[in-house]
């Protein structure tokens, strides 16, 4: 029983890890970033490249991937997204285009393969990610065998969630972010630099996706198209949790993860997937604003 609960918890943690960034860019800023999955992908490739070229472990890859994808996110916000605030469909299309561009950039070795140069670690092949030895196998805690890698993901997710919560609710920047979420014009009138704060928020959300990518690369196939299926789950979690609510995202990731874990332990993975979607539909039908939402007032 405990092992099933642990599996559910770890599935929830992975969901939360992916949706944390989305909870900020989509949930708070209202930008449907179709390239979020590609941020996850870039994070995974950062890990691959660091492993090949600098031979550093993935503990070092976590901050580097965060910085790298945050930078990419910052550039995307500056060049494209900020010109499209308030135009939901246009943002979706534009970021979808960016997603395709990023995928092809990786697949074509940043375009160098067209002139016959191949960068090891990029290209359209499957990438191999060495998993750290100290996270292989199981650790036994109180008589229960725990998958070390999944345990680490749960810890890291908890740390990142706490950090995000502190950032949003205990720092001056967080107050500005939340003010913009409620009413951008009023926030601007109060002297908040909306453009700057938006760019930083978007970069932070993208950086979180990069960290998710590093962790995913330990058990997922790293390839240019790995991001898309991941991001669908992320959107589901954020919508179920309620836009703009960090707590809602945490709860919905946890609930969906546990449902997935328990249903698949008594039936099959395929049924579990269907059960998750059934619960999602029920939540959206009966609580259209998600589990927690301040916009309902």
């Amino acid at each position: 029983m405990i092992d099933v609960a642990f599996i559910g918890l770890s599935i929830g943690a992975i969901l939360l890890l992916v949706s944390l960034g989305l909870a900020i860019t989509y949930g708070s800023m209202g930008v449907i970033n179709m390239a979020h999955g590609e941020m996850v992908m870039l994070g995974a490739y950062t890990n691959v490249l660091l492993g090949i070229w600098l031979n550093v472990g993935f503990l070092a890859a976590i901050p580097v991937a965060f910085m790298a994808t945050a930078l990419v996110g910052f550039v995307i916000e500056r060049l494209v997204v900020r010109r499209l605030y308030g135009r939901l469909l246009d943002t979706m299309l534009a970021t979808w285009g960016i997603a395709i561009l990023l995928q092809e950039a990786v697949r074509l070795d940043l375009g160098l393969s067209l002139v016959g140069i191949n960068i090891e670690g990029l290209g359209k092949g499957l990438q191999k990610v060495a998993a750290p030895d100290w996270l292989a196998g199981v650790v036994t805690i109180a008589g229960v065998q725990i998958n070390a890698y999944r345990g680490f993901i749960i810890l890291l997710t908890a740390v990142l969630t706490t950090a995000t919560w502190i950032l949003l609710y205990r720092t001056p920047l967080g107050i500005q972010v939340r003010a913009i979420m409620r009413n951008p014009k009023m926030a601007a009138a109060c002297g908040i630099n909306v453009e700057r704060v938006n760019a930083l928020t978007f970069a932070y959300g993208s950086g979180l996706a990069g960290i998710a990518g590093v962790m995913m690369s330990g058990f997922m196939t790293v390839s240019p198209e790995m991001g898309a299926p991941v991001v669908v789950d992320g959107f589901l979690v954020v919508v179920t949790g309620g836009l703009g609510s960090l707590l809602g995202t945490v709860w919905s990731a946890g609930i969906l993860g546990e449902i997935n874990g328990f249903v698949s332990s008594v039936t099959t993975d395929v049924v579990a997937r269907a059960a998750v979607f059934a619960v999602l539909i029920l939540i959206i039908v009966f609580r259209p604003n998600g589990l927690f939402s301040f916009r309902a007032r």
Partner: protein, 418 residues
């Protein structure tokens, strides 16, 4: 409505006869060296592009070798390469284009079963030939497809008794991806387990492409099984093998036995996760023969990658072009009907040994092999059949060597139902 009068009929047939007399001169003189078009259809983009690009390369390697030696019937082969983009609908459109616009009689290509099912109506309606290089689930009998990959009875039939006798494992847990290949293969495996006197514990399926194998591995852990028979495909392979070790399962106590995992997946998932597990397929890169070593070398030189891996569908993509060449030369024609009749019974010394197209069902005779994956990422051949085994695409439904369901007359529906 056009009515053919006796007079106009005579006129046209006279013209036709004149043309028929004249054309040999044209062929023999002006257009002697005109190349012959063939279709090459694989996913060069999308999720399957990694594997299918290697199949395209192997096809082109064979084409370039044949062209260097003077081509087929004195004509150079001109491959028309199309991209199916990992999408069955695109595959069907591209196949139509090759058949109708380019008028190619033969197409080499395809990997995923879903794309083959999508292309089938096109080539059957236009009466073209498809050379299909992938091991697949069976349960198909088209007179327009030459199946040069292994079929389940050549992968599973030998493997299950071997596991029971040589490994001494008796409790099978079957896992797969939730789609056609895995479901069919699992069915065959189950009936074979019963025959071998072993015990079937459970079968479980992952959502296609899913990277979440935790619950599945946990069930295996608690099931009491002593061997895992895996038909998991695609990106789930890596998630499954890695989760397996991360939950503390070891290959020496509870080995994974796969019908799918080839060198290409092993390279990506890491030998430390796969060492000790098994795969049953007719071809492995590690096959220790001059023919194979030379093939691996030529393939690596052709793709300009000294570390490129060869695997089962790569081998088939290569030798099937030679089978086609032999059939064309025997028939003296490139026309699909003539080539189909000539390809029956064709034999070729492929990198893995002698292969032969079955004269009845157009599938391929192979030598089944079992390999155990080593820490260097290569397979060590631990078992090989003494002779090539006849392909039986309906083995799960009672087909045997003496009682074929699929013959040149098509599928015998009565036998299938009984």
């Amino acid at each position: 409505m056009v009515t053919t009068t006796r007079r106009s009929f005579l006129k046209t047939s006279a013209l036709g006869a004149a043309g028929a007399v004249a054309s040999p001169y044209l062929v023999g003189g002006v257009r002697a060296a005109a190349p012959i078009d063939v279709g090459v259809l694989f996913s060069l983009t999308g999720g399957m592009s990694i594997i299918e690009t290697s199949l395209k390369d192997a096809t082109l390697l064979a084409v370039s070798e044949i062209n260097a030696k003077g081509g087929v019937l004195g004509r150079q082969i001109n491959p028309i390469i199309e991209d199916g983009a990992t999408d069955p609908k695109t595959f069907s459109e591209r196949a139509s284009k090759l058949a109708i616009q380019d008028k190619t009689e033969t197409i080499f290509g395809l990997y995923v079963s879903a794309t083959r099912k999508a292309v089938l109506p096109v080539i059957e309606k236009r009466n073209k030939l498809l050379f299909y290089p992938t091991f697949y689930e069976g349960y198909e009998c088209s007179r327009n497809v030459i199946y040069t990959g292994a079929v389940v009875n050549q992968i599973v039939w030998n493997a299950v008794p071997w596991i029971v006798e040589k490994l001494g494992k008796k409790k099978f847990f079957i896992v797969g991806s939730n789609f056609l290949y895995s479901r069919e293969t699992s069915k065959v495996t189950k009936s074979r387990i019963k025959q071998a006197g072993a015990q079937w514990i459970a079968d479980e399926y992952l959502e296609f492409g899913s990277a979440e194998a935790a619950s599945l591995v946990n069930k295996i852990k608690e099931s009491g099984a002593d061997v895992v028979f895996s038909n998991i495909v695609g990106s789930s392979v890596i998630a499954f093998y890695r989760e397996y070790r991360n939950q503390g399962l070891t290959q020496d106590k509870l080995p994974i036995f796969s019908t799918v995992t080839t060198e290409i997946e092993i390279a990506a998932l890491g030998p430390e996760f796969s060492a000790g597990s098994y795969t049953s397929l007719p071809y492995f890169q590690a096959i220790d023969s001059d023919a194979n070593k030379s093939f691996v070398e030529r393939y690596r030189a052709f793709v300009k990658d000294p570390k490129a891996v060869t695997h089962q569908p790569v081998e088939s993509s290569y030798f099937q072009v030679y089978l086609w060449k032999q059939a064309v030369e025997k028939a003296g024609s490139f026309q699909a009907d003539a080539v189909r009749e000539a390809v029956r019974g064709q034999e070729f010394d492929a990198p893995d040994g002698r292969v032969r197209v079955d004269p009845e069902n157009l599938h391929t005779w192979f030598t089944p092999r079992i390999a155990q994956w080593q820490p260097d990422g290569q397979g060590k051949i631990v078992d090989a059949a003494p002779a090539p085994v006849r392909p039986l695409p309906y083995a799960a439904y009672g087909e045997t060597d003496d009682n074929l369901f699929c013959t040149p007359h098509g599928l015998d529906q009565k036998k299938l139902k009984s």
